[in-house]
Amino acid sequence: MSHLATVAVLQGGPTSDALSDAVQQVIAAAGLNIQWRTLPAGVRAVEQSGDPMPPETIDAIRSVGLCLKPLLRTPVGKGYTSPNVTLRQKLGVFAGVRAIRSLNGITSRYQNVDLVLVRELTEGTYAGIEHTIIPGVVETIKVMTQGKAEQVIRFAFDEARRRGRRTVTVVHKANIMKMSDGLFRNIGRQIALDNKDIEHRDIIADNAAMQMVARPEQFDVLVAGNLFGDILGDIGAGLVGSSLLVTSVNAADSVKVFEATQHVGRTRNPAGEISASPLALLMPALDLLEHLEEHEAAQRIRQAASDVLCAKARLTVAHGGISSTSEMTAAIIDRLNASSSA
């Protein structure tokens, strides 16, 4: 079996170890040969080196170019910054791609949701530029630059094409913020002229939120600034019923980090075993497989996970069961084997 790719996988402690074991087993069972390079991060890295995101880990991710990552907890005490944020900054991540897809077996009021949201990750009010002018009055500065807007919107069109999508919708609030969001909207209109194979629309942010909950099927790929992207991404999680299903690809120039968007905590089952849902890291891993053009394998794993959820047996706590992470993983692998022998 030929070696498909080398992928860095971050391990932050017992729960994320269990999740990454689960992913590696499932992908191997699907017949794919990925060489995993395990790197310490988060609490695990603090134990070893005192740094929740050690430079060696970041260097290794950069040299490998692909990384699979659980959402890491910020270690308590000593004023640690979030290792998730540190990694993004050090890698120069400029966009986050959220794949928002329904999965049969996860309950939701909405069926067949299939959206992609591209979010700018460095600017806007989330850049955290704030100061107190006089006591009781605070000013936050929202920065929007032509360079970042062009980069993220171009990226959105490229993603749309790579994923075989038809429409890119630019989300803005240019009716109120005529200069900053006006810039974002106008750059969208310009870049659309270079991408005539993809349909372009723009929409005001509050209307986008309303339309997403009323008729999500009218959207395909959305691109938004930092704050609107945050909000619309979580509306998307609501549409598919769980943040477990929403994966995030953080994109820098030559690195892609596929990550979970939900903290799984330290969930244990009544037997005291780790019972985090394997979907937390498996769904981003499926995005990784799509990136590697292994569409058929990704689809088979998706179906197997869906089958296990629908069968309502051998499920972890988050899915209403009492099984451990490894038991639910075994159930998914059993399904995979059953489908390939059928």
Binding site: I176, M177, M179, D206
Partner: protein, 336 residues
């Protein structure tokens, strides 16, 4: 007692839906004398501005106004008339209650939420500039005074309307100073309202959970931009802007309005749906203490919509504005 209120008919379908609403209010027996003022496109023709001084003076005199949708002319240098009215009269609360309407089927049932949106600060002040080419800076100002007064207003509303819970929606995890100020103001007031349940949650968490299970929430108070997005999201849960009410309220004045657009494509044809503005008039009646009349309008409106035989075109029916309004009035007469 007889009241005197300002009437802003508005643009597009505005005159049709305000007329329908006035007829409904008449049927309740509450006596209201309306003082019409030109605002919006009509005022531009007559006075050269969409918001003549007379409009503001009249609202200041009558304290309360009913307002149809107004279109802000694009590219004429006018800022939004709606925003200008809020600022001039210091209407610092945008009140947006959202309820599932019997007979209008959506994915969510039994939605019953209230959004209080801070109306005067945040990113809506239009303070923007470009320090160097290709870079734009927008100022978002948050003051303790503005946070405190809307939190107090929201708490009073929750208590006086017999609601149970108030959620502060924020992002203090990222905007530690500004949203932190809002969070502090909210927390400081909580002790004064011992029978209101208080919680503070992150905006991304709230929107996700609103979509999954809105019954986790009751009343929600928040900064301007979050409020803009969340009030429309909530409207989306129950059928859109065409069926939800809205009001902008300050300490001295209040404007009850349609939050939907002016629908120029169907203007003048007598087929617009007045549901949203009739719902806003229910808020108006409650605001002035005419609770019995408010209840009868709401009950009548919901019973017509729920029966489903008489509906306007936007809700899949064939009734025109007059027929629909007549049906609501007939129900009010039955109830009275």
């Amino acid at each position: 007692m007889s009241y005197e209120f300002t009437l802003i008919a508005g643009d597009g379908i505005g005159p049709e839906v305000t007329n329908a609403t006035i007829r409904v209010l008449e049927a309740t027996g509450v006596e209201i004398k309306w003082i019409p003022v030109a605002t919006g496109a009509a005022a531009v023709a007559e006075f050269g501005t969409p918001l003549p001084d007379e409009t503001l003076r009249t609202i200041e005199k009558t304290r309360v106004a009913l307002k149809g949708p107004i279109t802000t002319p694009v590219g004429h240098g006018f800022t939004s008339v709606n925003v200008a009215i809020r600022q001039a009269l210091d209407l610092y609360v945008s009140l947006r209650p959202v309820r599932s309407i019997p007979g209008i089927k959506t994915r969510h049932e039994d939605v019953d939420l209230v959004v209080f949106r801070e109306n005067t600060e945040g990113l809506y002040s239009g303070r923007e500039h470009s320090p160097v080419p290709g870079v734009v800076e927008t100022l978002r100002v948050i003051s303790e005074r503005a946070c405190s007064r809307i939190c107090k207003w929201a708490n009073d509303f929750v208590r006086n309307e017999g609601r149970s819970k108030l959620t502060l929606v924020h992002k203090a995890s990222i905007m530690k100073l500004s949203d932190g100020l809002f969070l502090d103001a909210f927390t400081a007031l909580s002790d004064d309202y011992p029978f209101v349940e208080h919680e503070a949650r992150l905006v991304d968490d709230v929107v996700r959970e609103l979509v999954i299970d809105p019954s986790q929430f009751d009343c929600m108070v928040m900064e301007n931009l979050y409020g803009d997005v969340l009030s429309d999201l909530c409207a989306g849960l129950v059928g859109g802007l065409g069926v939800v009410p809205g009001a902008n309220i300050g300490d001295r004045f209040a404007v009850f309005e349609a939050v939907h657009g002016s629908a120029p494509d169907i203007a003048g044809r007598g087929i617009a749906n007045p549901t949203a503005l009739i719902q806003s008039s229910v808020l108006l009646l409650r605001h002035i203490g005419e609770r019995k009349a408010a209840d009868s309008v709401e009950q009548a409106l919901f019973s017509v919509l729920s029966e489903g035989k008489i509906r306007t075109g936007d809700l899949g029916g064939s009734a025109d504005t007059r027929v629909f309004t007549d049906a609501v009035i007939e129900q009010i007469n039955r109830i009275r």
